[in-house]
């Protein structure tokens, strides 16, 4: 799984600024697990798309601004997360499991059944 470089000109940048969420990616015999930090994103503002071999995760932070709120100090200004990845063929995109809890998205992408590791017997002689 390799990551796609985001190409955006200054114009595109102004229209919709997004940040890449911090992620962890690890693999075991069953497949690949991806964890992404997306604090402030409720379930209905989250979008996960697979197109061909591209996986896109995108989520908007829910605006929680009480009446008359005036910003005093802000470290986070971008209300949208976006990151995309290139998957490889042995991954089964039809069986991706996604779970969003406390602002952490966890995705499990299983391997195709035939791509599970197999021990190949070597016969001597």
């Amino acid at each position: 799984m390799s990551e796609k470089q985001k190409v955006s000109g200054p114009g595109a940048d102004q229209q919709q600024r997004t940040v890449q969420p911090a992620i962890d990616v690890f693999e075991d015999a069953g497949g690949i697990t991806l964890l992404a930090d997306m604090p402030g994103v409720p379930r209905d503002h989250l979008e996960i798309k697979v197109e061909g071999d591209t996986l896109l995760i995108e989520g908007g932070v829910q605006r929680f601004t009480p009446e008359g709120l005036e910003a005093v100090y802000a470290e986070v200004q971008v209300p949208r997360y976006r990151r995309s990845f290139t998957l490889s063929r042995e991954l089964d995109t039809a069986r991706i499991e996604a779970n969003l809890k406390d602002g952490v998205l966890s995705l499990h992408i299983p391997k195709q059944a035939h791509a599970q590791p197999r021990r190949i017997a070597v016969s001597a002689g």
Binding site: M1, P10, A22, I23, D24, V25, F26, E27, D28, A29, L35, D37, M38, P39, G40, V41, P42, Q62, F64, T65, P66, E67, G68, L69, E70, A71, V72, Y73, A74, E75, V76, K101, D102, G103, V104, S106
Partner: protein
Amino acid sequence: MYESILHHPNSLFGQFERLRRELDDVFGISGLPSNIRSVAQGTVPAINVGRTPGSVEIYAFAPGLDASKIDVTLDRGVLRIAGERVSAIPADDPKVQVYTRERGYGSFTRAISLSEDIDPSQIQANYRDGVLHVSIARRESPQPKRINVQ
């Protein structure tokens, strides 16, 4: 007429201004005073502070915590938020191959000094979607006083 050059969004000046702002975002070189408790960008959790006429609202972007283990204290006008995040990557498993490890783990503390008009007896905190929201009421400010001129 000269002013219009400065205000045209795509003029040379506009582009310089944008570049300056971008450099400022990245390097913080504007020279404006920063809060003594401010931290480097990328520190977890990031904090936003806002104010309404009746309250001070603090939002800490801290995903993946156990709500019962977040420690919020208010002492002499300084709000402290402490917590710990445990790694979700299985440790010491030879079959697990880790490709990317960007999410921070471990314990953290952040402190924010608040204005003097807050009421420490009226404080509420809730944790939702990975954001800790602390709301503290402000005391009613005294009515403006009219001074008679003799």
